[in-house]
Amino acid sequence: MSAVDHTAPAHRWRGFAFALPIALLTVVPLLAVVGMALTPQPEIWQHLWNHVLPRVLGNTLLLMLIVSVVVLAVGVPLAWLTAMCDFPGRKFFAWALVLPLAIPAYVLAFVQMGLFEYAGPVQSFVRDVFGNSRWVPDIRGSLWGLVMVLVMAFYPYVYLMARSAFLTQGHRSMEAAQALGYSPTAAFFKVALPLARPWIGAGLALVLMEVLADFGAIAVFNFDTFTTALYKSWFDLHNIGAAAQLAAMLVLVVMLLLAAEQRSRSAQRFHVSNPQQHRVVLKGGSRWLASALCLLVFAAAFAVPMVQMVAWSLSVWREDLNSDYWGYAWNTLSLALMTAGIATVLALMLSWIRRRHGDGLTSWTVRLAVLGYAMPGVVLAVGVFVPIAWLDAWLMALLEPWGVQTLGIIKGSLAGMLLALAARFLAVAYNATDAAMQRITRSQEEACASLGLGPWQTLRRLHLPLLRTGLLSAFLMVVVDVMKEMPITLMMRQFGWDTLAVRVFQLTSESMWQEAALPALAIVLVGLLPVILLVLQTEKTPSSAG
């Protein structure tokens, strides 16, 4: 809920005017992509239409469908178990099941590939014991291999959201349903689950957006999706117009998902309740079944990949851990910190503007500003790269009469990459900041006003202290996301700015799994810290999780 706008009608445009510069961060790349997409490319589209798109669209839809089903089948039951029931190990699994968030999907992908490929340890072992491994499905062309990797990487989104829902509403709905005579199972399916649907829907939309944007994991499995068709058009067929057209189509689909996610969010009802009472204590076989299920998912998504990465790293660290390596780590960290700083400040500004100006135009502008999350990394890279190159060329032409021979005034700096990354992750920072902002009540603001504090002083003395945890969450989430990010960093980096993620990609393109494990492990270890802090934050405020 936002404050009623008390300002005079003449100041109606102020909110829009303040929010627009921030929204440009996302709007300009979007317009650039649309602009590039306007040039018709008949010859290549004939080829794409007949030979590429049918398979690619089918693959993408199939992938999204199967991932949806499996991620719900994994995330929702786990959330229910850890939120509502008690079984051995519940306290540990409640937060441990979120840890896979620290592992990027492309890391999980190459670990799985390295483990299960024909010449890898699992199949070799099977061949040693059984003579042949023909009955073990080849992970190499396998849709299911990719599905399992994506589910393991992204189920925490559904898990966290569903868990929030069950923690805040589960007990009341179950009590009410059982009072009306439903059995526990029927109560779950007929009452608790439908009540939790907005939350689960929001989590699922997030997962699907990630799947559509994914590039690294899909590249490891050599799967053909929309994103790979985009890459092929741009880099192999050298047709940026067709690539922009595909990008525009992709953005359209993702925007639909985003709209669904926002509708789901708005249907969420917040009730604060005490989750510690009335945990269903599981008895007998179901106790151990619950523990086993949690253990299985935790092992597959976190423990086993970590062990494998550590094992591989131990075999190569002596040669690979040289001075270059610390350079990559430093680049990764500084890039993440800079982007997080920019994104958090912008998110605070947006949240503040939205709070002070409640009109529809401002809220639409704010929505536009956070659209960057819906655009896959490669699309943002196209949209930021080209305008910046033009701008640079124009600036150079402008400064040439003065004899200034500076090259890449904007691109030579990190500005391009930071802009693209900030655009992509502004939504993450904004959601966390805004959720915290919502908890500051109007009466608190009015109290400050009645004490004679102006808007800036209110911001400084009321909002900022109360928003501290929210801003910290926002900052940390962006740090984790930027550390894991790969497409934008890969495409927009300048020489000397290789990050750990870029390193992992380069090594996995050469199928050098062991060498890739070292930078991958570094990403995960550093990412674990913010993830654990995040989990602790959401434990404290269950009604704002996600």
Partner: protein, 338 residues
């Protein structure tokens, strides 16, 4: 007091900028040759000449698109690619500039450089047939085209079509036989696949050793790299020079090469770097760790490479490969070769 401080600062800054100016200007390299293979050589150059080299690595296609988008504001001076098709394409798009260098022209044979003096090959690599020593006899093998024959069903391993090496090989087939016959050959390959295509040749060779397939096509230097770590590997997987018979055309040859970028800020430094890379001593060192053949005929081959013996190469025509690469990509899509 204030004046004194200002004077000190100004002189310090002046001294620093003079020191900067005294250092030779850096050279920026965009390379699709992976860093692990290129950086040691470039570090050696910096040690010998004091010139700092800024290196950016990415896939060949991405680099040319990046150069095209950057245009005049590109920081790149040198473009190094690992596929002659990419190099030819970059030259045709006007991304490389003409350089007059008698040294380069003397070091690099005429058929391995651009007629328009826009690029020069730096090392030669071949893409040929590898087979399992236990399960296949060399008499059964002959040509790339023969691998499309149904007798190889379920026995063939191939690399993904998304890689430039596959695209160049198919481009060569198109140049030799025309689109229709090349399409039939590629379709035959796809139907003979033992499993899904590989993203990397090293995995492919390991798969032949492990028994997933009996025969495959790979670049020779991946074989060399495995042999360097496991000298006994050639007992499990052996190399076969394809198309050696009369009128069969010869084994597919590819180049890694370089050119000076059109809008280079340091074209002199770029030219000097290329001349150094093509010189006899450097060529020997450049190819000894990488198991390719040097382009400078005076340089020596790595012993592992020498052990593979002489072979008849397919006469390299960069234009043939480069101009048919787009067609090859579309052909690969049509036959469903992923």
């Amino acid at each position: 007091m204030k004046l004194w401080k200002t004077a000190l600062c100004v002189s310090l800054v002046g001294a620093a900028s003079l020191a900067q100016a005294a250092q030779p200007q850096a050279v920026t390299v965009y390379s699709s040759r992976i860093e692990a293979l290129l950086k040691p050589t470039l570090d050696e150059y910096t040690k010998q000449t004091g010139v700092k080299i800024n290196l950016l690595t990415d896939r060949g296609g991405s680099l040319s698109e990046r150069l095209a988008a950057e245009g005049a504001s590109s920081p790149a001076d040198v473009l190094i690619t690992v596929d002659v098709g990419n190099l030819w394409n970059a030259a045709e798009r006007g991304l490389l500039q003409k350089v007059d260098s008698p040294t380069l022209n003397a070091n690099v044979p005429a058929n391995f450089r651009d007629e328009g003096n826009r690029w020069w090959g730096l090392s030669q690599r071949e893409r040929t047939i590898f087979y399992s020593a236990d399960r296949i006899k060399p008499e059964q093998l002959s040509t790339y085209e023969d691998l499309a024959d149904p007798k190889w069903k379920g026995k063939l391993c191939l690399r993904t079509s998304k890689q430039a090496y596959t695209q160049s090989l198919v481009a060569m087939l198109i140049a030799k036989h025309g689109v229709e016959k090349a399409e039939a050959i590629t379709k035959g390959w796809v139907s003979n696949l033992a499993g899904d295509v590989f993203t990397n040749d090293a995995s492919l060779l390991k798969a032949i050793a492990a028994g997933q397939c009996d025969v495959g096509i790979s670049n020779t230097y991946y074989y060399g790299r495995i042999l360097a770590k496991e000298p006994e590997f050639n007992k499990t997987v052996k190399l076969f020079w394809a198309n050696q018979g009369a009128n069969q055309g010869g084994a597919h040859v590819n180049l890694s090469g370089a050119g000076v970028v059109k809008h280079a800020k340091n074209p002199e430094g770029a030219r000097k770097l290329l001349e150094w890379l093509s010189s006899e001593k450097v060529q020997t060192a450049y190819t000894h760790g990488t198991y390719e053949s040097p382009i400078n005929k005076k340089a020596e081959q790595d012993p592992i490479v020498k052990a593979w013996g002489k072979f008849i190469p397919s006469p390299l025509n960069a234009g043939d490969i480069g101009s048919h690469q787009a067609e090859a990509i579309k052909l690969l899509d049509r036959v469903g070769y992923r």
